[in-house]
Subunit: 491 residues, 2 copies
Amino acid sequence: MSSKGIVKRSEDFSKWYNELVTKADLAEHSDVRGCMIIKPYGYAIWEKIKDQLDIMFKETGHQNAYFPLFIPKSYLSKEADHVEGFAKECAVVTHYRLKNAEDGSGVIVDPDARLEEELIVRPTSETIIWNTYKKWIQSYRDLPILVNQWANVVRWEMRTRLFLRTSEFLWQEGHTAHATKNEAVEETEKMLGVYAQFVEEHMAIPVLKGLKTENERFAGAEETYCIEALMQDGKALQAGTSHFLGQNFAKAFDVTFADKEGKKNHVWATSWGVSTRLMGALIMTHSDDKGLILPPKLAPIQVVIVPIYKSQEQLQEISDFALQLKKELELLNISVRYDDDDNKKPGWKFAEYEMKGVPLRIAVGPRDLENNTVELARRDDLSKNTVSQDNLSSTLLKLLDQIQKDLFSKASTFLKKNTSFASTIEEMNKILNSKGGFVEAYWNGDSKTEQKIKELTKATIRCIPLTKSSNGKCILTGDLNSKKVVFARAY
Amino acid sequence: MSSKGIVKRSEDFSKWYNELVTKADLAEHSDVRGCMIIKPYGYAIWEKIKDQLDIMFKETGHQNAYFPLFIPKSYLSKEADHVEGFAKECAVVTHYRLKNAEDGSGVIVDPDARLEEELIVRPTSETIIWNTYKKWIQSYRDLPILVNQWANVVRWEMRTRLFLRTSEFLWQEGHTAHATKNEAVEETEKMLGVYAQFVEEHMAIPVLKGLKTENERFAGAEETYCIEALMQDGKALQAGTSHFLGQNFAKAFDVTFADKEGKKNHVWATSWGVSTRLMGALIMTHSDDKGLILPPKLAPIQVVIVPIYKSQEQLQEISDFALQLKKELELLNISVRYDDDDNKKPGWKFAEYEMKGVPLRIAVGPRDLENNTVELARRDDLSKNTVSQDNLSSTLLKLLDQIQKDLFSKASTFLKKNTSFASTIEEMNKILNSKGGFVEAYWNGDSKTEQKIKELTKATIRCIPLTKSSNGKCILTGDLNSKKVVFARAY
């Protein structure tokens, strides 16, 4: 094991995650409580996530805009449910100036520079955006508004984990305004579909699509749709949410429009978001005890070429070959690193690129040059093969595509294998305490029942699946005609 | 004049600017003091700026990363000059929780949730980043670090103007670490070059490259390089800065590296940034009394097609033609809008797209279809021509290129015409009070002289040009061997 080795998943999954995030150079904790530093390699993956989502948002007619970081405190109280759910754990700005300490010890907050009304660092932007939409919307001609924002948000957290739960995180938040309820519901569902498509096709993570229960709904939403993914330790992770907000925010901020007949109506709203939390999902779905495994579509480096040589002449010959191959691959939009660093041994490099999840590794030595071959290693299944240099570019292109598919199919198999059915609380606990995973069960639709099951199992209802299913007996109360829902212990 | 008309530049330049920003749908003030809302059309322009700069940063070997929004108050005091220049007008977070008011009137700041150390919303990130680099750098092998961050920053402002001076703004900040002074100076100059190239080639704005005087230097820098642009009202605007930070931050945060011989040295640093202020420069350089003028490379819509018709049959025929043309243009990566909105008259549309600065407008009516022509209007010079439909795509492609060049050349002519030389304070004031612009003059290099000239003329030294020039008599003191520098009144 290299000096960069990490603990095994089977020994301590949580520690494995932390060590992987650090050693693959993805992120680290800052000295500011709960705020992370996203390192260049981690940020390069986030950029790929962001760029692809941005394309998909634009293809579905959305535009980006930017709204203020700060929200006046009083705005948060305007939507009653929203304030209950969100207003509490926030960073509060109370002053706007520092001054030199009189004793020369540094700077202090200037007591004369107190804000009349405190400002909250946005935990989410519904309130400031709907306060703005009020000015943008007069008539049905101004609708729909299909706007997205890429931004940082802050929700004060006491216990933080890199990517999964941090006080500051990066995300996108879509905020749309519509003339009719139907159109808003359609938008909510459309964006859930965009998220599911992105997460499955680009992140290679299969997801369940469903509705949240009332308990788990976004504060201020009429309905919260979500996609739920399953991590390797059997815990669920909410990967994205799309909210149908009804007329709640329009009413709170008095946003109306005149319809074709000139009649005034309140506007219908949606909001939807995914965050840097997706990075956590990506890591915990695919990676192994050697480090990160990345689906090729999100890999900053898709192919690494490592020369195996003794003499400088050998290196020169290998470099000629490698640089030519690199050029060919780049023409196919494959990102390649040729690592000819003379200070590091091949074995060190192999471990390093395994840790960083580079999907394909090519090793080339003098014998390979003689034989017109290379050694080709797949990161996902750790297989190694000697392959011909003939048509190598197209071999690699096909293989990247294959790896993308294989990762999705492996994760799908895992999800299926780890989806169980329980008809009693005991059964559910038995499953959750052994392999975990998604547990389907019937639930009578009552919040108190949900709460009680949570107390008994530490599992929450992850979603009410969108697919129709038969009715049955509630796992807790035995009520007939209960709905099938999906439980899991979750991040 | 349409209902969307704006005041003339000659009447009130400042009002013209504000009206244009609002009526071209670029940005607006929010209810949060000093914070702006960047509207979708304005943000689309900013995205083009951002995307191109990002490409250029990556081409020069830089990677993106992300550092915390918050900086512990004590960090700001660590670099003595930095705290003097920056620490004062900042948003200060003192609490991390709200709670319900007992009287049910809303939420209040929870007095029990006071932070032990206040957090400052970053006004710039040198301190938090150098505190991080301390952990990243041990040996010369860890250098250079070439990192950039796209982020929001906050500097509390009492008098704000959209894009030009806002309390919150968007920017990028590059922060690099080097083993030698030479390498850091080279990096500083290289990034100034990148900025100049971007602003000239993409924004079509000619700039002066130079050094700031000690007075105008970034707080904590050994040398600040800048690019300076000239607005249509004769005032200068600093469009970008690149700082050679010496070892100041490395010493303040104790960042050292072991060189090849194992000897410890402090690291050398640079930082460089441009912001949404560039949007202000873009507007004030090119636009006219009819609204925005955009260089084609930054225009979200490069070509708009407006149908001129009476009957629905006519519209149908025109639409067939327009959609075909749109398709052809999109294959050439030209962004096109076909505006067949039946609720608006062509005249209204013409005024609207002129306000929004769409570089080329095509109007097509039934007669055009008969004659195999279209009416083609250029936004920049307001010229109109009837042109053949044959090879129209390539005509438009060439014309967009021509407009890009013409805008730069027009702005360059303006800059040359408005660059004067003054040998006395009276002369300088006469120039500044009539046409304004850049005024070259000799200066003895003394900060007090600089300050005195500023008091007498309201002009500051914009830069000490990088190009060599003859020495002469100081405009204030008459000292011989004074350097030629560039003065202007500035934004």
